[in-house]
Symmetry: C2
Subunit: 246 residues, 2 copies
Amino acid sequence: MTYCVGMMLRRGLVFMSDTRTNAGLDNISTFKKMTIWEEPGERVITLMSAGNLATTQAVISLLDERSKLPEDRTSSLMKAPSMFQAACMVGDTLREVIGDLTDGGQRADSGFDATLILGGQIDGSPPRMFLIYPEGNFIEAGDDTPFFQIGEIKYGRPILVRAFDPDLTFESALKLLMVSFDSTLKANLSVGMPLDFFCYETDSLEKRHVGRVTADNERFQTISKGWGEALKQALDTLPDVGMESI
Amino acid sequence: MTYCVGMMLRRGLVFMSDTRTNAGLDNISTFKKMTIWEEPGERVITLMSAGNLATTQAVISLLDERSKLPEDRTSSLMKAPSMFQAACMVGDTLREVIGDLTDGGQRADSGFDATLILGGQIDGSPPRMFLIYPEGNFIEAGDDTPFFQIGEIKYGRPILVRAFDPDLTFESALKLLMVSFDSTLKANLSVGMPLDFFCYETDSLEKRHVGRVTADNERFQTISKGWGEALKQALDTLPDVGMESI
């Protein structure tokens, strides 16, 4: 499993992904699940992936045209005229990779499927974000659905649903995401530290505010420890339920 | 789906279950998933179920010996010498019901499986609580695992993990459960109001504090509405995460 969240705020896009991949409980590794393509001043595109690691790595290699000589390579995403076209390219490539394997009759216990979040901005258009399914089709984030989760989404969802606000600052959004990730980390061994993040500021058209939160990060530990106490206090602020009053 | 929680507190046992059953999104009904057997002063036993409704109803009918004439009936659970024996009886009956169907080659899209929480007290022993699997085996709640969830467990788990305390009062436990159920209700259509609850006081050996929380219950609405605000305030109490400080 995996846990990734992409958020659409008024001030930009925020991405966070964990780094654990596993084939069984006894075979775990750390891989970055966030890839960022940048042409400063022109476009910034971010892709996060959940699912079969070989599938998602193949998709990225194909998009990067790694079949060509190093000097001839440019990512196809760098040529897409719009974010919509970029999502189409990624969806087509994903479907092609999965199709190649399954058409050949290959099978894997956990399947070859992968689900992706693609977000970014190309000069001249506003930022856009898409959730891309293994079938290659996709949906776009909007005012009614301003964030997407992929992977092990359930544990960390309630806090996002309750506390998400499109006017969040990047700092508050990272804090909210850390709480959501912490709830998931505490419940599911297939989601693991460190966490990668990227806060993209609308119209900046460059890759700033990129970082990795390690398990021993002081801020993360403060949030993880403080959240239990904060939740208990939050519960205390609610009125008690008398058993007879119901 | 379904969502049920059984909690073991120092002062007794608390049970809560939702009431939605569904066969597809377009065929939903309301069924009580909590059954309580009582012999005042001697024993109180509670069973909650998640899974195939026909399976769980068959298990309860068999335990109640509904194959006999009404005047000859006593629930097998009324004869169990201990809670452990009661769990064995329920487990055996569950395995038998599922086995009858699957041995005959029957199949159902969602399977015939069911998972149960059994808890109660028999005079002379402390209260005990078990999680019973479709295979008929079971595990017991203890100090390290003081609560069990069955059904759609993920959304409501983080708050339980963080805020559960064996010293909770019944009033606070019900409040905590309402928050956990509310998080689940907001995320999954297969879990629905009203909610049934039962707070069993250790050594009372009687069925008191039983009730149903309907969707228009004022307390529940206050909690549901207040929780979003309380969560946002809880987030605010945590230190912000500076993007540069990570």
